[in-house]
Every structure is written in C-alpha cells, then in structure tokens.
Symmetry: C2
Subunit: 546 residues, 2 copies
C-alpha cells in the first residue's frame, strides 16, 4: 500500500496538558481539599507540578510500564498524577476506595502496583492493607508536610515533600501511542475484578470524541465540575477533556452532599457537571428543600445507571439544566452513547423530545454497536426488538489485564465485538435504550421482562424511595417479577396500591406478582443496587399463587 | 513498554460513511447538478453507490495505492468518489479546474493518475489535455447516459453506466490507517505545484478536531453547504465531517453566484457554510441589493484569505450570522486555527470581541504552532512580536509527494516543524493573526510592514473594491509600500483622499508612498491576488521622492 505523507505525531496524554499550558495557561483548576480549604491553581502550574511528579516517581525508581496506584478524591493533586504518571510512560491505576479493604488489596496485588498515592481520608484503609501488598514500595500521602500524620504503622512519604525536591525540568518522552497509560478494575459482580488497561491512543481519541457537539459538547467556554470520581473510569474522561478544550475544572474533593456541591457550583460558576443519578438525588433534594436555582449550570451528564424520567424532567423543566443522558462502561473508557438530538427532532413536541432523552442515546463517533439474539444474529433497529448489546471501537477493551482468554465475540465477518452484558433496543435513528442487564432480565414463559421498566414505574410513585425488580422462581412461567421496595420516610403505601399504579403503564403480564417492602436495598461500591444479594436473599421466595 | 489492551481499530475513511449509514441513514445530501436540476439522496444510498464505485474502479483495473483523479464541482457523485476511491485503498486526487490546462496536465502526470472522473463542464479541458496524460487509462464523464456527449475526441466512459453495471456488495477493506487516502497539489506561486498526500489517519483525526465546539462546532443538527470547492483541500474537510456527525449536506454545483447560493441556502434550510471572502462578497452584494435576510443560517466559516473586518461586522451585526474566521493550508488538511471565544471573553465588550475575531484564532486541538525570528528562535506570545509561523501535528505534511527533501525545520529538541510561509503574531491567549506572507512583507529600513494591514485599511474605504500592497524598491529604505487599487464601479477617489484615509489607522511610517489605480488585479486559481504578477508589473516603479 501507498502511505500518506503526513507527520507521525503520536497521540499522547502529555500532549493534552502541553496543549492546555500553551493555549490556556491562566485557566483555573479549583479544588476543595482534604485539608478543608479551597485551592486554586492554573493549567500552567499544573503542568509544572506534573513535570515534578514525573521526576519524583523516577526518583522513587518507578520505571515506564510499571503501575502507580491512587486512592484519592477528585482534586488537583490527583490530576497532577494523571499527567505526571501517564505522561512519563507509567500506568496510573486508580483504585476505588468504596470497595472493601480485602478487594482493594487483591486488586493492588493483581496490578502489581509499585507505589500508592492516597488522600489522608483513606489512611485507615492503607494501614489495613499495607502488609498484604508486597509489590508496593512507596506509600505517599497527598498532603502538606505539616498535615502529615505524626505516626503511622506504614512508612509514609509526603507528596508535597517529594514535589518540592523534584525539578520541574522534564521533557515528556515521545513513544508509541499504544503504550499503556492507565488502568481501572471493573467492579464485577461475579468472580474477581478484572483490570482494563487503557492506552494513550484510546484515551486521546476518547477525549476528542467525548468533547464533540453530539456528545458532551465541551469547549473553552465551559467550567466543568466532575462529581463522578476520578477513580471511576477516569471520571468519564473529563480530566483529559478539560485541558484539551481549555475548560475550567472544579473538583469537589470528598464533599459530595447536596449543599456542598450546590455552593461550589454557584461560587465557581460551573456550567457543566457529570455524575450518577444518586448524586443528583442528593443535590436536587437540597435545591428543592431550600427553593434554590442554578445561576450558571447549563447541562449535566447523567450516567452510571439509567436516569429516572422524573429526574430528567425536573432538571430540564424546573431548573433549565439540560440533561445529557449517557451510557458507557469501564471497558469503554467509558463513553458509548449520549442522548442528543438530530436536526429532524426539532419538529417534535416537548413530550416527544423528553421521551427520546429517556433513552441512553446515540453512539458517539468511533463507537459501533449492534444488538443480537441468543444465536448471535443481528436484530433490527426498530426500537422494539431487544437483545444483547455488542460494541467495538478504538477505546473499547480488547482483553483484560493478565487474562489469556479474549472476552470478545467474533462475528461472521471476523470482526471482534465486546459483549456489554446489557440488553437493549435500538431505534431507526440509532437511539439505544438499555432494557436490562443480561443477568437481570426476567424470563417469563418465552418472553423477557425488563426489570428496569418495572423499577421505573415503581419509583415514579411518590411514596417509593427505591425499587429493585428481580426474578422469582415460578413453576409454570420459570420466572416472574418480584418487586423489592424501600418506602420514602413517613410515606404510606400498600402492595395493592403499588400494583394498581402499574395499570396502563406496562402490559398486564409484566406487572410484578408480588411486592416486598424492606428498609434498605444493598448498594455496590459505585452506587448500583446489588441485585445478586437480593436474588440470594429471596431465592426461596414463594410467589402468591405459585 | 507495556501496551494498553484496547481494540486496534484503524481510523479509516470508510468508517465515516459506514457510521453515517448506520446512524443517519435518512439524512439528505442535496446537490444542484450540472444537469441543471436539484438532486436528492441520503447517506444510506450514498454509501450504496460508494460501494458500487469501489467495485467499478476495481473493474477498471485500478489497484490499491494508485491515484484516481477528479475534475468536478461539489456534488453527490464527487462525494461518492471521495468514499468509494479512498475507502477501497486508492488515493483520490482532486484537481483544480481553475488552473491552466498545461498545469493540470503536468499535475496529472506527476501524480500518475490512472483514471479521471470529470463533470461535463470540464470536457473542453479534458479534450485539450488527454493526449498529454499518458498514465490516464480511463476518462469518466460524471453524467447520465442520455446526457453523454454524442462524440468526443476522447474515448469517454459514462459514470452512471459504470455504476449501473457494478454490484453494491463490497466489504470495505481494513488496512493500516497510515495508508494514503487522497491528494491535493498546492498552487505554489514559484516552481511546480507540489503534491500533498493525506492518509486515512490524518483525515479522520482532522475531521474529529474540525467538528469540536471550539473549531467548527458541527453536529447532527446542522445543514452544511460547503461553498469552498471539493477540489480545494477537500472542501476544508467538510465532506468527511458531515457524515461523521450526520449533518445534512447541500452542494451548489457550479452555480456560485450570490442569487443561486442564497436561494439554495433558503430552500434547504442551511445552518452553516464555508468559503473564501470573495464568495461572500458576491452573496452579500445580492442580499444587500435585494434587502434579503437569512432565515436559518447561523454561522459561516471564512478562510482562504483574511476575512475583511467590514465583512465580519456585516455578517454578524446585520445578518446575525456568526463568522468563524479560520486559517489553514493545503499542507494542513487544512484546518489550523479558528477564532472562537474562551470563557474569559464573556466579559469583553462587543467591539473587543469583534477585534478578537479579526485574528485568525486559536490552534484547534492537535495543531501546535509557534513563531520564530530569522534565526529560528522562539518569539513571545504577546500579540506584538511577529515572525515566521511554524506548525506541527498529525494532519500536517511531513514531505511532499516524490520530493526527497523534507520541507520541515528541525528545532533544538529534534522536533520537526512545517514552515507555513506566513508571518504572524500570537497573543497570550493563543490567538494567532497573520500579518503577512513571508514573501509579501515589506521590509522598510529595519522594520517590517504588513501588506495585509495596509490593504485592510484601503478596502475599508467605501470607494475601494480591491487593494494590493506590494513592496517597491527605495534607495534609502530598501522597500516601501505601494498600493495598487481597483475602484468600485462609478466610485470616485483620488490618491490624496485614500492616503488621508490612513490617518490614525496605522503608524505614519507605514502609510503607502504611492497609490496606483488599475482596472483589475490578477487573481490566482483559488481567488487569491497574484502579487507575484503585480511585483513583476511594477518592478521598475519609481516612488515619488525616491
């Protein structure tokens, strides 16, 4: 083949912060710190300190290709590590502090992390696991010297000491863009967590695609507050996108309650945010209770789990904040789809537009997707047929860290597709809607019932705080839906009232067979309902009439 | 190094049309044809016909890596060739019909084009050059069978016949993303034209960057009418960006007069356009004369040469059309900078914002730039220092086709930079402003005078239609500015009145030494003033007092 004759410039993460330094030197990064205060820096200073990080980790003996872990909130020091570690050719491994200590230790050992940088909040975790993590040679507290703990069971280094001793002269190495840049473990509900190893190429391409007008639409006119944690699929890529486009960044640290967030939004003139539905529940509870309005917020990305229609409507109609309903996975860097309109949708009514936004949306450019039946045959894009959702593209996992087996399914044309584990419909305009997780779908007779549809009806009732729909065994139908419900404080509702609420909202045969009221539904480390636990708890449940 | 474990999905041009077919099948491509009518198709049909093109050129014996030329207006058949030829692994070579026939033949021979597809408008050119183009095995007229010329000196094939005979079953080959995809020759003012060979990678990355909110901000809600020709640096990339984002495309064919364009803008509800200042002059003359307003146009990209401030103001203030002042080159795919605002500019007055837009703007992500003095030393980004503008990035030329010598300049760090031939300032916010072409700058004493600044003042006078400022020899100052002016029809203005118009607008020593009124200024094939000709014409000009 004849090659083009354009420059061979590798797509590197260091290029993102270099671009921000050259083109947006004075744009601010504002962080609520573990120390309690609000800290301000700029992309120029952040770039300088990222170069110090690169020298510091070199001084600690960390080599290119080795993994460096973090256990930290969203903040400027964490961002310095994003660029300093990846930029120098090592892989940044962001740990989820919401996992149990044993699981964190297991992950550290699997990744063979050589150093671990942590916010002081997490010192108890560190002290609990340090002796079990043989690969870790350095434990670094991300704090000023004067705030360092007086003593600890673990031999701690001080982040600010390390940086103060490091030169800020460092030329970012140029290397193959397929080099590993960073790493996240999936919170698998079965088996051990699995590591996803991102590359510089996948990260930069994902950043470009994420910023596009049909995706998150981010520009130098934005001020972004990522509520989604930097330990959760790299805060959906926002720490990379922001310097790429020169947007101001605001980090909430560990203060994720409604009041703290709202105050930060207003004080820093945030225009755009991103997070899971549970975070927005807290924020909206605060604004509703205090009759507050956002003065600069224009839009927010909601993902991680489906955005309840009532939340979408409240944000847009009462608060004038556009909701970008999005879907993705750790294995997808994470962005797969965003619900943004096409030109043809200008003609729709407000209600029709809302109905479209309830879907998880269209594939962003670079992501290809399809739905297949149990035999792997393509299903039509008619908005009705649902099947296993498969994806492919340059920021989608090829295989897991240290796993010999490929997770991909190969189609008739020899093309590999990643099975998402989600069940979905896709309509003629390419709008995808998750109807269930493969393992959560309820198989009643030959028909599938979407647990999510059933849950959405339940939470639309004013007395319901949370609802999970799981399959209960049934002698005739194999499985039938059982609804597990948490009532709102002081709210009253009976089984019969709740079941009557389904009338006209779903087909008769999809209405749950029974309702169980509980005090709480167990949640996983990323805020998702742990249906595996519920299924275990209700595995012998006897449905009425069964 | 440790590699990431993400999918190795090559960035291919076929992926753009596949994406449009899957996600935007019903979006229209509307073309005013050589036949005279308005033709409508969709991305799904366009993709089908692009596959037929791939089969058809295979049937003609065209192999991957070989060049296939076009001599055509903006239209759907040209777009089919964009995807059919590049997608199958050959390189699409777009020829500029505004060049003289000898030059076109020279370029075809240099590129060794194997086939040439042309609009019937250009049959006289084809008949003039065919016998001189030994590499071309097939001459294909892009027209229906019934409109084919009854006879021709050249053995012609009919495009629609070829497609009708070709199957639409074709699986786009997957290959190295660095494979050559397309080719343009620069309209060099000295020496022979030089070929720039784009790759699939450079084209797809350029498309992603061009669509970003800080660049051209293109989405599935847009309807794009590229006035800039598809033979002029791939219409600035818009034929690739539009299917990538699912925008409707409207092609004007050869009808580029103000009335034809305006009528098409209105009939097709165009939201965004792109072209050189001379095209907009024609369009605005039509709207001004007939007191018309655009009902859907929201913004237009203006590049190719500097947008006159008066045009920028007229578009924005009277017509409510946002101007995206842009700069690029054939060697840059072409996009380098776009003048879009940052968050901090919200605080500026309307006049201050206009002043920023007069600059060519900020580097789009992926392009790095700097200005250097005659010794290659970096100059400060203070908006005042001006020097040679150098660029680098993944869609910037590395070397010219068949040229052994690299055009790049290597800096102290070993990094290669492409010298643009432009002289520019860059301010602290990264806004670049072209002050001149390196060869057009006027060297008066030790000081440089920007010919563009002097021309802008001249054309701001209501009696001036066009103005070129060139250097005239001067015994004391080496060079002094001479202004060559075309008056507007029936307008009166004297040398003294025009020179008085400079008062307070430029420094006294920058005011031209003399004014010559002419009937016309020679223009090149891309509409730029041919200062080389003027310099030749006035090489013995005696300035007053010299």
């Amino acid at each position: 083949m004849l090659h083009g004759q354009m420059m061979q410039t590798p797509l590197l993460i260091s290029g993102l912060i270099e671009h921000a330094d050259r083109h947006h030197p004075d744009v601010e990064i504002v962080s609520r710190r573990v120390e309690g205060d609000v800290h301000r820096t700029t992309y120029r200073d952040l770039h300088r300190r990222a170069r110090q990080v690169a020298n510091a980790i070199g001084g600690l003996g960390i080599k290119p290709g080795e993994r460096v872990a973090t256990l930290a909130w969203n903040g400027y020091r964490h961002l310095e590590l994003y660029f300093g570690v990846s930029g120098s050719g090592s892989a940044l491994h962001t740990l989820n502090p919401r996992l149990i200590a044993e699981q964190i230790a297991w992950i550290i050992n699997d990744a063979e992390d050589q150093a671990l940088f942590f916010d002081l909040t997490f010192l108890p975790i560190i002290e609990g696991i340090a002796s079990h993590c043989k690969s870790v040679r350095h434990w670094v507290a991300m704090i000023d010297k004067e705030k360092m703990p007086a003593s600890s069971k673990v031999n701690l280094l001080c982040y600010e000491d390390l940086l103060a001793a490091a030169s800020d002269h460092f030329a970012w190495p140029q290397f193959d863009e397929n080099t590993a840049s960073s790493m996240c473990y999936t919170s698998g509900t079965t088996g051990h967590p699995k590591g996803v190893l991102y590359s510089h190429r996948s990260t930069v391409l994902h950043s470009m695609a994420a910023a596009l007008p049909d995706a998150l639409n981010l520009s130098a006119r934005d001020c972004i507050l990522p509520v989604v944690p930097m330990f959760h699929v790299n805060a959906w890529g926002l720490p990379y996108v922001a310097p790429m486009v020169g947007a101001k960044l605001v980090f909430p640290g560990g203060a994720l309650d409604g009041k703290s967030l709202f105050d930060l939004f207003e004080a820093e003139k945030v225009t755009c945010s991103a997070g899971v539905p549970t975070v927005w529940q807290g924020l909206l509870a605060h604004t509703e209770a205090n009759n507050l309005r956002f003065s600069t917020m224009r839009r927010t990305v909601i993902g991680g789990s489906a955005c309840p229609p009532s939340m979408l409507r409240l944000f847009q109609e009462k608060y004038g904040v556009q909701v970008l309903h999005a879907w993705g996975m750790t294995e997808m860097s994470p962005l797969g789809t965003v619900s943004t309109f096409k030109g043809k949708h200008d003609a729709l009514s407000a209600e029709q537009r809302l109905a479209l936004q309830y879907k998880q949306g269209r594939a962003i450019f670079g992501v290809d997707m399809k739905i297949v039946d149990a035999d792997g045959q393509d299903l039509p894009w008619d908005g009705k047929a649902f099947g296993d959702l498969l994806v492919r593209g340059p920021w989608i996992v090829d295989r897991y860290f240290k796993q010999a087996d490929s997770p991909l399914r190969t189609d008739a044309g020899g093309q590999g597709w990643f099975p998402t584990g989600d069940v979905a419909t896709i309509d003629a305009d390419g709008f995808m809607q998750i109807t269930d997780r493969s393992k959560d779908v309820i198989k009643s007779g030959g028909e599938w019932i979407s647990s999510i549809d059933i849950e959405n009806v339940a939470v639309s009732h004013p007395a319901v705080a949370m609802a999970a729909c799981i399959a209960a065994r049934h002698p005739k139908w194999d499985e039938r839906p059982l609804l597990v419900v948490v009532r709102k404080p002081n709210a009253q509702i009976t089984r019969e009232q709740l079941l009557a609420h389904y009338e006209g909202k779903v087909a008769r045969w999809q209405v749950p067979d029974d309702v169980v009221f509980v005090d709480a539904i167990p949640l996983g480390a990323t805020g998702k309902m742990l249906k595996t636990r519920l299924r275990e708890q209700f595995k012998d449940y006897r449905l009425p009439g069964a």
